[in-house]
């Protein structure tokens, strides 16, 4: 009896292995994406779709990858980690894509790290910035990113904050989510590297309507710069609470407040600085103008301000081109070969000059966009403009 079970289990295992190897052996020329295309962060999925589709069109106009047309498939995860994990399996095992792009939510990206490395499909995050999603300690690591990284964003913001602070006291407001709770560690670490501590670290929940207790504590701690790790709605409530208690610090935020803070907060948003990797606002160089012309024609937009997450468009665009170049270098659709090739791609992209895109010897360099390419933008009368093109840039 025991031997029969053993033989049965052995056969099942052999069948599973052959099925799995069959799945692995037959990758198709497609790039998948799991992102929120419905729900409050649907604009993130839309931005990724725009950038990826335009890049795929450009690649296909030049003959595709290894002689075949490249496809882009997008699935909705609505910001829910279990759906992101399901979509990862679907993209890898059912669609058999060569690689996949990440989405907007850090909680989803962190949950995807396990199945991505388990299956062994190259994943390139293009928005979610959580440090641990990509720096996950796995070797080999199939998680890559062409986007901002919270650890580097934190250092960038702290540098900016200490540059403009007169008292040297910085307050930090962060949302009580995976994104915010991941960032507090990075910001404290960045402050410690400068030999300082945060004057106040205040948290809040999504949907909170009033932040006056947090703002009062930060004000009374003597801070003159406030770093924000918030989305537009809560960022607006923080600004209004600051207005109510009569506190006017310099405000610098991660890109969660790059959506419609200017519309929500009106004049209170003027001068609020936001870090991004890319913006379509302000004057355009030839490269940006060419991409904007394509976005405008394909998606029927009239004004660059209609793009709510320009960084997502540009990051996804660059990521798809980097993946296509890796496929050409690998001369194969094979996941492992493409992963290896990603470390050898050099590409002059929209956001950065990737030389190379990733570095195998440095776990921190699974991230392609270095902090020197981060851009500071500022809200002026409802528009988020490159800071150097505004009066605020001259005072910085």
């Amino acid at each position: 009896m025991g031997s029969r079970i053993g033989v049965g289990a052995g056969l099942a295992a052999v069948t599973m292995m052959s099925l799995l190897s069959a799945a692995v052996a037959e990758q198709m020329p497609c790039i998948g994406n799991s992102s929120a295309t419905t729900g409050p962060a649907a604009f993130g999925g839309q931005a990724i779709k725009m950038g990826a589709e335009i890049a795929v069109e450009e690649i296909n106009e030049k003959g595709g990858v290894l002689g075949k047309k490249l496809n882009f498939v997008q699935y909705d995860d609505a910001g829910a980690p279990p759906r992101g994990v399901d979509n990862t399996r679907r993209i890898a095992l059912a669609d058999k894509c060569i690689a996949m792009l990440g989405g907007y939510h850090s909680t989803v990206a962190v949950a995807q790290a396990e199945p991505v490395n388990e299956i062994g499909i190259p994943y390139v995050g293009v928005l979610a910035a959580n440090t641990k999603a990509i720096e996950n300690g796995r070797n080999p690591n199939f998680m890559f990113r062409v986007s901002a990284k919270d650890k580097w964003v934190a250092r960038y913001l702290v540098d900016q904050a200490l540059k403009v602070s007169k008292s040297g006291k910085v307050a930090f407001f962060y949302e009580n989510t995976g994104w915010g709770n991941g960032a507090i560690v990075d910001v404290k670490d960045a402050m410690a590297k400068k030999g300082k501590e945060l004057a106040a670290a205040e948290t809040f929940n999504w949907g909170d309507q009033d932040m006056s207790p947090q703002v009062i504590r930060a004000r009374d701690a003597g801070a003159d710069v406030a770093l924000l790790w918030a989305l537009d709605r809560e960022g607006n409530q923080i600004l209004r609470s600051m207005d109510k208690v009569g506190w006017k610090p310099t405000i610098i935020g991660a890109w969660g407040i790059a959506g419609n803070l200017g519309e929500l907060a009106g004049p209170l948003a003027n001068g609020v600085e936001v870090i991004q990797t890319y913006t379509f606002m302000g004057s355009m160089d030839a490269k940006k103008q060419a991409l904007w012309d394509k976005v405008k024609a394909k998606y029927g937009l009239k004004d660059p301000a209609e793009i709510k997450m320009g960084s997502g468009v540009a990051n996804a665009y660059d990521a798809v081109h980097i993946i296509a170049k890796a496929i050409e270098k690998a001369q194969s659709y094979d996941w492992e070969k493409v992963r290896q090739a990603l470390y050898t791609v050099n590409y002059d992209g929209l956001v950065a000059e990737y030389k190379p895109a990733f570095e195998a010897s440095d776990p921190e360099r699974q991230d392609a966009i270095l902090p020197k390419y981060y851009k500071l933008t500022v809200w002026v009368d409802g528009k988020l403009l490159p800071i150097e093109q505004t009066a605020y840039g001259k005072t910085n």
Binding site: G207, D208, S212, I216, Q237, L264
Partner: protein
Amino acid sequence: MTTTIQYMLSGLAIGGIYALVALGFHIMWSAAKAVNFAHGDTLMLGAVVAVIGVDQGVPLPLACLLGIAAGGIFGILLERFAVRPFVGAATSVGWMLTTLAVGVMTEALATLQFGGFSRPLPSPGVTGAVHILGAGVYPQELFIPVFAVVVVVGLKLLQRHTLVGRAMQAVAHNKQAAALMGINVNRITALSFGLASLFGAAAGILVAPVIQVSASMGAILGLKGFAVAIIGGITSAPGVVIAGFAFGVMEKFVEGYVSTAAREIVGFSVMVLVLLAFPQGLFGKREVLKV
């Protein structure tokens, strides 16, 4: 001292919002012995319709009226198709589930139509803060608790001095007896749901300039409003308003002197403790069921 006043004012503003939501639950419970768990979404619906109206170029006052009307129609339809078929059943599970389901559907539909972003609803009440003994507050925020008190007084007058109000009380007291007296029970129940939803949508429009309009704005307000209604005693209009104010102020003091993270823990612990000590809520009447 200024900080204490700030917490009081901010707490009253938030508490006023909870009180308005809780009043909607009170009106429905008083007539139907059932509530619409999608009531938070009625607030959202009113505010969303108003913003869409403004987007389409409709003048602000007219857009607000459209939002309130949409809320009223929503309440009447919901009572007819999601509550009335289940109210006579042995358990309350039917209308609880159907109203919850309608709430989820409404939010999903609003997200599809309205998009993911929060949107502002313009109002002169939030253009600049006024200062009272050093504490800052927007005039719109001050108006919210005042409006809640006015609604309570209006409700009392309606119940005592109008035929409809008396009919609502009669239906609440004993449906069969009310029907025997010639009162159209179904119509009165539908009216109470419609009235609650009208106030709900108006409340949504009133709080929108303060908390911004989004498809998800009603969920947490509905939950906290219901908690406040239970704490105050859902049968007592002044009770739910007092509980709303107290709950809002308590939240601000917990946030200020303990931590933001402790707010929900303390708030809902208080709700459980109040229910253990006062099963009918702080101001509710014990309801005697005669078998």
